[in-house]
Amino acid sequence: MNGALFWQAVLVGILGYLGAVDSIVMGGVAYGFYILGRPLVAGFMCGLIFDDVKAGVLCGLAVQAVFIATMHTGGTSSTEITYASYGGIGLAMATTKDPAIAVTLSIFIGQTFGLIFYNLRMAGFSYFNHRADHDIDRFDKHALIMDQVVWPQIITFLVRAVPIWAAIYFGRGAVEALLKVIPTEITSIITVLGGLLPALGIAMLMNMLIKNKLQLIYFLFGFAMVVFAKMSTIGLVFIAILVAYLVYQISAKSNINKNSDSLAKETVQNADEYQDADLF
């Protein structure tokens, strides 16, 4: 029994619930998912808990680099970032404090257990939604709050905090044993996968934005500005604002003279297609 580790694991588990997309405590997604759930912040928090802020931030930094383009759109997620952050970084902080281990563990946990737990919960909560509908029909306001907020949150807390606590508390020995026997091929596959994962988040966003394949030209423009012109992200934002404004100006002219510019008209009309049923 290790008393300190037990309580450290409990704290990381609680943070893993607070930083989750489906937790309500931290102002919904505003201060929870989009702040506490980010790996950089998770690394900082785990650093405080394990009393080594520098190692925690370094682990968070390495994991954040992999998950910077993680997207959560329309209920689907390219990775379960909260299980990945607190499970992976917490476990790494409990063992080697090595950023590379944190990255491997985060990707592994986020893509396997994290997504499985998340998808099961997303499917299972239909049960509470039906109960809430039933409560409204019966006009039972108290039961509505219980079925829409209280019970779902208790279950969310259990499926988030308990596995993370268990992974850190019991996983320590297992990770150390595993690291000794794991073939290097597996770790290199996980590393390559970590490099590939941002492609999925970005493709999910592209799928929401790009309805006309010709608009890929804007995407390629942004890509080229970074790889060829070596522009920073902030610099690119300014250039993008300029281009977007020019497009806005040109579309005004094409509205006056509707037949003159069929392409601009087509892209404007395509805004209708945002309501893509498959996305939600």
Binding site: I68, N129, L196, F221, F223
Partner: protein, 285 residues
């Protein structure tokens, strides 16, 4: 506090309909801020979280009319999903509509808030997600990551405070704007000029995520090709004429799987895992 509540209760007993108080508006705002994903499922997403958010309004206007109260909860429990922070705009619009319905304005039908929600959630999700997850968060995070290169906690602290302030402003401005504009906001959002605006944000978002793809996707080949007696890494040759060629191929392939092949994110993860595994095993990646 207690005396305030008493006064509010006495006011609501009087039959004369009145507008929502600041306190009630704040309650609706906060409930929508905290609760949208409380019982999120694939079937309903934010769903009945709306019904819970509008209970303060129901308690005010439908205290003695259980049937109208039940209709209010019922019409705010079907499927709904959008970006919740910028989504406060819809909450503000619906609050102003429901207020009019509650005060007995017969020009506004009870279907109106439902239609508004259904027509706004799609466009708003597209713009909101690309602004928040595609531009704001990656930009703030890349600044923060620069600040903590050597393990300095300044980076996470910068991100925590900057994002907290910005998102709070976004939520308040969106809610107040939506409430103030009311129905006229709908024309502004789905009308002709709004399509131009949507198009503008789409262009902005698409360019920035193009840059994001270039700076975040890491894919390098480890193949070495022989040059006479020496070998030269293939990656150096690729970088010489097209840096980031492999990441570009990866993201276009993934986009093709999702948009043209209509694959789910989970299936794509499996395919990417297979690609990574095969690539490593044949010693290409």
């Amino acid at each position: 506090m207690a005396s305030n509540e008493k006064i509010a209760k006495q006011k609501s007993k009087t039959s004369k309909p009145e507008r929502l108080t600041k306190k009630e508006l704040r309650s609706i705002f906060l409930r929508y801020m905290f609760l949208p994903e409380s019982a999120m499922s694939y079937e309903k997403m934010h769903g009945a979280a709306w019904a819970v958010s509008y209970m303060p309004l129901g308690n005010k206007y439908y205290k003695n009319d259980d049937d109208a109260y039940r209709r209010l909860l019922k019409r705010h429990s079907p499927f709904y999903n959008t970006e919740p922070q910028t989504g406060q705009l819809v909450n503000g619009i619906v609050a102003s509509l429901e207020e009019q319905i509650g005060m007995g304005n017969t020009n506004i039908s009870e279907e109106m808030p439902v239609d508004v929600k259904a027509s706004l959630m799609g466009p708003l999700a597209g713009i909101g997600d690309s602004l928040v997850q595609g531009i704001l968060i990656p930009t703030l995070l890349s600044i923060a990551m620069g600040l903590s290169k050597d393990g300095n906690p300044l980076g996470p602290l910068f991100y925590i405070f900057s994002y907290a302030i910005i998102t709070t402003i976004i939520e308040i401005v969106c809610f107040k704007g939506g409430y103030r504009l009311g129905v006229s906001a709908v024309d502004k959002i789905v009308g002709e000029s709004a399509k131009r605006l949507t198009n503008m944000f789409t262009v902005l978002g698409t360019i920035v995520i193009g840059g994001l793809a270039a700076s975040t996707i890491a894919l390098k080949t480890t193949v070495k090709i022989p040059f006479g007696s020496q070998t030269k890494p293939l990656e150096t040759i690729i970088d010489g004429f097209f840096p980031g060629l492999l990441p570009l191929i990866a993201v276009l392939f993934t986009f093709w799987l999702i948009s043209s092949k209509r694959m789910s994110a989970n299936k794509v993860i499996l395919i990417l895992t297979v690609v990574a595994a095969v690539g490593v095993l044949i010693k290409f990646l």
